[in-house]
């Protein structure tokens, strides 16, 4: 008896589980065969129990699970294929609808894939170093002086490395641009000086040869170089025998010891093709506030950023106590290296990613609207199928298959668009965006596109499917049954979609409008000099050939004389650190001290210039006098300052006649007298305020490395051959580097802003078109559905103007609601974009007034066309249709 009970129990449980498992089959199949299958399963169970007891049941279950696993997917696939065939037939019947939907989705998905590929490659992908998450950028800050993210100096770096405990290794890098001679044209090579363990800290091995050794590091001067793969290929044709051979750089011999791999990414934003060693004796010989070193550290495994920063600041405080003159107020900031490398591009890229997200939402709303409209047209087909017994779930599944197929087509077309979009982006993106050349369609992008396609299909398919699959049968099957609850509900939903679309488009347009205004302001900033027809290039005389100050002084004076005499050149300036090209901040002392601001050592951007610099640049003299040929070695030392500097350090006082001196001069300060005040120039960027600037005459402080700034009468590039000729006559081994017009330089400084403005502009324009098409579609459909009503109205005496007003009012109600909501959303979101704006408030009244007007005008146009058509309704024909 007990065993009979037990087997009855087993049977009961088994059949309950089997019934639950049957739910995995499509409903259609389950309804048809479910009861039969349960009965057959029950029979099997009974028999197996009778024959083999519980063992028989277990064996049956094993077989049954296999049976289910094989047949369930088959049944689903069967239905999917049937639905797909049906969907294709439906699409072919309405090619215009299909094309419109696929184009809208392709634009939305394509823009998303393209921007995602950029964001993923530039911002998200880990840096190509070993355990990149443990690499940090180490920079100085001096809060009392308002200095953040400052480079380090040689002695500070050596002390950091020696005294900190959180790092497995710490390395430094500095800029180095040697001139290669002896093998073809002389060439200035962009490169870097790095501490001996730099490559080891990054965890990168050379492709060939070796990196620097601790033995080399102890020598006073470096003697070896490592080449980049690209430079090795370009200049030496990938010659393996180059290893161990020597190159002539800056007039001296250097041994090539290694070649870096082709995919090696240097840390500096500027490309580098050659590296040499910055030896410990060289580093130790520099001043403590000669801040020219970038420092990168590798944290010990398991070490977190916060404790490591605390550890570094203990070191910084010890240095402050030890060297109060140079290290007072200096602390250390640690930044993850990835953040450091790509952090500045993140905000703009994330805003672009958000924008394309909006664009996709607009495309979804658009297509959902189209589907709703078409769903209304198919109401009768669907009601018929429901009447014939199709379950609602089955209908939803069918409709979702249709939207899924549309989404897949849109996604495929979008991927194609993304491919071309990415190539276009690469062409216009500023070169300093790190890793931009690596952007392409890779696995993450494909995955993203797939996910976007899937979500899109659901997003625009689900609402219409729910809506359409729930018709009131009787209403839909009746002829001419418009104006029922069903159509009211559907038109309300279409109205909501339209409002959402307009609101989203407005947010995008306002974002784009703000960026365009900001870009325009940026472009019209005057840098403090006239950049037109100004040619610039840089010369650096190697110490080996020009060891004596008198030699390079004479070289530049001769060169400037000859260049000035060339036809087409009206002014020849020279500067060690001209605006936008180089910068050199130096602290200085003031004789007698300052009345105000005693807490910070005063500093300024210092440039060594020739007397003609100001006239060549058209920087105006405000007071006092400019440099003259009489300001030379041996005469009293003089300096000029900018207006900004005068206001900053001598507010309400006369700086002319005051005397200043730079530190770093051994022993006695060398006082310079301020003889004049000139106009300020911007130098770090068009969006950066001018800093205090101080000029020193070249003849009193000659430099080996100078930029020439030549004012030309015509096309600046036209004078280049003459300049090359002149230079060759003076020194045939002297290469010209960074030859550009000043306008190109300025253009380059706003390349990033131009790119984000351009992209957001394109997205916003697409959004505007999609929204316009959306409004048009809804209005055209709604007007066509109201033909009967309009006919009645006209028969009862309504004029065409009345009808026009009626239709337009309906459309504009939607558009204005969308604009209202969009304005609120834009006001909320605008501050996100605030960081990208220059001299434009996030709530800029001009943008917030003009953009809604633009959108309203578009909406009006989109309503007007269907409204005009509605007025042409012939009342008699409209009424006869019934």
């Amino acid at each position: 008896m007990a065993s009979a009970n037990a087997s009855a129990n087993t049977l009961g449980i088994s059949i309950r589980i089997y019934r639950a498992l049957l739910r995995a089959y499509p409903a259609e199949f389950r309804c048809e065969y479910g009861p039969e299958m349960r009965r057959a399963f029950l029979d099997c169970c009974r028999e197996k129990t009778r024959r083999a007891g519980w063992r028989g049941v277990v064996a049956l279950w094993l077989r049954t699970l296999v049976d289910l696993a094989v047949t369930v997917p088959g049944e689903h696939m069967d239905i999917l294929l049937r639905d797909l065939r049906f969907a294709l037939r439906v699409m072919r019947q309405r090619p215009l609808f299909t094309i419109a939907a696929v184009v809208a989705l392709a634009l939305g998905i394509g823009a998303n894939s393209a921007i995602f590929s950029v964001v993923n490659t530039v911002v998200l992908r880990p840096l190509p170093y070993a355990h990149p998450e443990r690499l940090v950028w180490i920079s100085g800050n001096n809060i009392p002086s308002g200095i953040k993210d400052e480079n380090s100096s040689g002695p500070d770096f050596l002390d950091w490395r020696k005294q900190s405990r959180s790092f497995e290794g710490m390395a430094c890098l500095a800029s180095w641009q040697p001139v290669l001679t002896g093998a073809g044209e002389p060439e200035r090579i962009p490169g870097g000086m790095v501490s001996f363990d730099f490559f080891r800290v990054l965890g990168i091995n050379p492709a060939f040869g070796r990196t620097f050794t601790p033995e080399e590091d102890r020598k006073p001067e470096p003697e070896s170089v490592i080449l980049s793969y690209g430079f090795w290929q370009r200049r030496f044709g990938g010659d393996r025998d180059l290893l161990g051979r020597t190159l002539t750089l800056n007039g001296r011999l250097w041994t090539v010891i290694g070649i870096m791999p082709a995919d090696f990414l240097y840390l500096s934003p500027r490309p580098a093709e050659i590296w040499t060693l910055y030896t410990t004796p060289q580093l130790a010989a520099r001043g403590r506030r000669n801040d020219h070193l970038g420092v990168v550290g590798r944290l010990r495994p398991g070490m977190q950023l916060q404790p490591a920063a605390a550890d570094m600041n203990v070191v910084a405080e010890a240095l402050e106590r030890q060297y109060p003159e140079s290290n007072s107020g200096w602390r250390v900031t640690l930044t993850p290296l990835l953040e450091r490398a790509v952090g500045e591009f993140k905000p703009a890229l994330l805003i672009l990613l958000g924008s394309v997200g909006f664009l996709l939402l607009i495309a979804c709303a658009n297509v959902a609207n189209l589907m709703l409209v078409r769903g209304m047209a198919r109401q009768r087909e669907i009601a018929l199928r429901t009447a014939l017994g199709a379950a609602r779930r089955r209908l939803i599944r069918q409709l979702l298959t249709e939207s899924g197929l549309l989404a897949v087509l849109g996604g495929a077309a979008g991927l194609g668009l993304a491919y071309f979009g990415i190539r276009g982006l690469e062409a216009i993106a500023p070169a300093e965006v790190p890793r931009i050349i690596d952007v392409g369609i890779d696995l993450p992008v494909l995955g993203f596109t797939l996910a976007a396609t899937f979500l899109t299909g659901i997003a625009f398919g689900l609402l219409p499917a729910l809506q359409v699959s729930n018709p009131q049968l009787n209403e839909a099957l009746k002829e001419g049954s418009w104006g029922t609850t069903q159509t009211v509900r559907s038109s309300r939903m279409r109205g909501m979609m339209t409002v959402a679309e307009v609101a989203l488009a407005l947010v995008l347009l306002i974002g784009a409008g703000l960026l365009i205004r900001s870009y325009h302001k940026l472009q019209s900033v005057t840098p403090g000099f006239n950049p037109e027809r100004l040619l610039t290039f840089r010369l650096s005389l190697p110490p080996a050939r020009y060891p004596e100050q008198a030699q390079f002084t004479a070289f530049y004076q001769e060169l400037l004389e000859r260049v000035k005499a060339l036809p087409g050149i009206s002014g020849a300036g020279a500067a060690s650190d001209p605006p936008f090209l180089a910068s050199n901040y130096l602290a200085f002392g003031i004789q007698g001290g300052l009345q105000s601001r005693p807490e910070n050592p005063p500093d300024a951007e210092v440039s060594v210039v020739n007397p003609d610099y100001f006239s060549a640049m058209t920087i105006p003299l405000k007071r006092g006098r400019l440099f003259s040929p009489y300001d030379r070695a041996g005469t009293p030392l003089v300096a000029l300052i900018s207006e900004t500097m005068a206001q900053r350090y001598w507010p309400g006082d006369d700086p002319i006649g005051r005397r200043i001196a730079f530190d770093g001069v051994k022993g006695q300060p060398q006082w310079r007298e301020i003889v004049g005040i000139v106009g300020s120039t911007r130098s770090e960027g068009l969006d950066a305020r001018p800093y205090a600037q101080l000029y020193v005459p070249f003849a009193q402080s000659p430099q080996r490395s100078m930029s020439l700034l030549l004012r030309t009468d015509g096309d600046p590039m036209g004078v280049v051959p003459g300049i090359r000729e002149t230079l060759r006559a003076l020194d045939k081994d002297q290469p010209i580097s960074n030859l550009r017009t000043m306008e190109q330089v300025l253009h380059g400084t706003i390349a990033r802003q131009r790119l984000s403005t351009l992209l957001l502009g394109i997205f916003a324009a697409t959004a505007l078109i999609l929204a316009g098409v959306g409004i048009y579609g809804v209005m055209a459909y709604s007007a066509s559905q109201r033909t009967h009503e309009i006919g009645v109205r006209m028969a009862l005496g309504a004029t065409r103007g009345d009808v026009l007003k009626l239709v337009i009012r309906q459309g504009m109600t939607l558009a204005l609601s969308g604009v209202g909501i969009g304005l609120l959303a834009a006001a909320g979101l605008a501050r996100l974009i605030g960081g990208l704006l220059f001299e434009v408030e996030p709530l800029d009244p001009v943008t917030f007034a003009a953009i809604p007007l633009l959108l309203i005008a578009t909406a009006l146009l989109a309503c007007y066309v269907p409204a005009r058509r509605a007025t042409r309704v012939d009342p008699m024909i409209a009424l006869r249709c019934e």
Binding site: F29, Y33, R39, A40, F41, C44, R63, T64, T71
Partner: protein, 118 residues
């Protein structure tokens, strides 16, 4: 869903499971569980149809018009009338015969190559 106008050849070769079902139905109508038992018995337990395999096959056979549902009951006293019974259609009989012929010619081919005793 009955597809008409298909020739017997279009459906060949049949899967073993389908051929067994058709064979089982050749001598009269049966319900699902009875088909499962009979197939298992005849194949000496080498082929054992689960309910899923059986009913997805039945669905397709119905759709292709090889079998049909029947209201007749062989022995009302013995059987549950809630069960569904299936029988071969004339088309299904022709398809089963064609498959049998196909197999037979394969067997004679094997015989002529001395794979089987003559």
């Amino acid at each position: 869903m009955v597809r008409s106008g298909r020739s017997t050849g279009e459906l060949l070769p049949l899967t073993p499971a389908v051929f067994h079902i058709l064979l089982t139905l050749a001598d009269g109508e049966r319900h699902g569980y009875s088909i499962m038992q009979e197939v298992e018995k005849r194949s000496e337990s080498r082929i054992s149809l689960g309910p899923g395999t059986l009913y997805t096959a039945i669905k397709r056979l119905l759709a292709d018009g090889l079998i049909e549902e029947t209201d007749e009951r062989p022995d009302p006293a013995l059987d549950d009338e809630r069960r569904r019974y299936y029988r071969l259609t004339p088309f299904g009989r022709r398809v089963a015969a064609a498959e049998a012929g196909r197999l037979e010619s394969l067997v004679s081919e094997a015989r002529s190559r001395n794979l089987l005793p003559a």
